[in-house]
Amino acid sequence: MVEYSERQGTPVCMSQSPLEKAVQFHRHVCPGLLMGVRAAEFALQFLRVSPDRDEELVAIVETDSCAVDAIQAVLGCTFGKGNLVFLDHGKHVYTIASRERHRAVRIAQKWGNLRGAEFERFRALAQKTDLSEEEELEREELRGRILEQIMSLPFEELFDYREVQLDLPPRASIHPSVRCVRCGEGVMQTRAVETGQGWLCRPCAGEA
């Protein structure tokens, strides 16, 4: 029996747009993700670089919002690769640097750019948990209009940007692991605490 389903394919012979790469990674479409896509695409254009392969780029992000998933997916600056630096400032600010071009651009979301009545209504509906059918429809309609607005507006209406001088962090390095004498688990030596009894991981040392 055929069950109804709308499969979302994983294309192997069709190119994906930066937005699609971001959505594939983030798994849903939202305004924050699209803002990240716009910022990431602009950074590539401004710095005249391609997405990162092996730490040629560094991204310093001052938020942990949805937009950062777009930064990772579009720019290739990822948490695991070590070229995504998170500063917990709660600001929609992204500084993207190229090691090869010795250039960096600081991109900051403009205050008030998405604060119209339509956006506020969308946020109110998005935070509500018991939407009626009419409210669900309204939420999706608003979401569609806001997404279109984000992808269509001139970049300068969404963000401020300026070139900055940056002392780039060194490329990610690999350190040996030691065994925590309390829990027995391995821990990177540079993160371990040396005591009279031997190495301790931070949780066991009470530093976590």
Binding site: M1, V2, E3, Y4, S5, E6, R7, Q8, G9, T10, P11, V12, C13, M14, S15, Q16, S17, L19, E20, V23, Q24, V29, L34, T129, D130, E133, E136, L137, E140, E141, R143, G144, L147, E148, M151, S152
Partner: protein
């Protein structure tokens, strides 16, 4: 059992709906009220499938609104999650009846005809009942574009159309097949999420101005259509594609409803 996590089964996929729920009240008309220890409350259309007391899990089945038979539409979906077929690959698709990508009952092979249009030639194709849908097998695909449409005659006339790509990069203009009411994309190309998709509505081959075209996509939680646009004086309109997956466009004029399925690779 103190509190539980509530999971909703939607399209056969189980997803976490609400955590730390300590109150579940089934209501009339297939509604269930959930309340969490944090005071959050949610009412939705669902039926309780299972209470796993030891694992603190409550599993609900989503209840979709009944489709009014007088309000139903047909639509075609290629059996590929890839956006296209490859030459030599078995090409098949499924015809559904319902509303806004939500299948309902009432689709009978004896009341429906389907045709393949290629190079200006129309050839009837058989329909095989499978579940709530009707399956169309077109055999091994030849490189190029194939238009498939289906129609159901009656007090209300329903049409469904889709353009299937076999192979790659068949970017070209698209000709109407001559339906009484027809959505015709401006061109066939690989459309991406975030693109504007442009099309024209034709009534008996002429542009239909002021028609409301509804659109929806997989994963929409709305019972209705989250996108509605009106055609301009040239019968044209465009929609910004905000969701992955295939999109369904639908237009009604008098007693005719016609749909077009946009097949996307992502």
């Amino acid at each position: 059992m103190c509190e539980a996590n509530v999971y909703l089964v939607r399209d056969g996929v189980e997803e976490l709906l609400m955590e730390k729920v300590d109150r579940v009240v089934p209501g009339a008309d297939d509604t269930v009220m959930l309340e969490s220890v944090f005071g959050e409350r949610r009412i939705l259309k669902a039926r309780i499938r299972e209470l796993e007391l030891v694992r603190h899990r409550i599993v609900l089945d989503e209840v979709r609104p009944q489709v009014d038979a007088d309000d139903a539409e047909l639509w075609l979906v290629p059996d590929t999650g890839h956006g296209h077929f490859h030459p030599g690959e078995e090409v098949s698709l499924t015809l559904w009846k319902g509303k806004g990508m939500r299948p309902g009952p009432g689709l009978a092979a004896e009341r429906v005809e389907a045709f393949v249009v290629r190079g200006g030639q129309q050839v009837a194709v058989g329909l095989q009942s499978e579940g709530q849908g009707l399956r169309l097998s077109l055999g091994q695909g030849e490189d190029g574009l194939v238009t498939v449409y289906a129609r159901e005659e009656g007090d209300r006339r329903c049409y469904a159309k889709v353009i299937i790509e076999v192979g790659h990069h068949h970017h070209q203009g698209v000709e109407p097949v001559g339906l009484p009411l027809e959505i015709v994309p401006r061109t066939h190309r690989h459309v991406h999420l975030g693109d504007h998709y442009e099309f024209t509505v034709l009534k008996h081959g002429r542009p239909l101005a002021g028609a409301t075209v509804r659109a929806t996509y997989p994963g929409s939680r709305s019972a209705g259509y989250p996108v509605r646009v009106a055609t301009d004086e040239s019968g044209s309109a465009r929609v910004f594609l905000t969701a992955p997956g295939n999109w369904l466009f639908s237009v009604t004029d008098g007693d005719v409803t016609s749909t077009f399925t946009l097949v996307k690779g992502f």
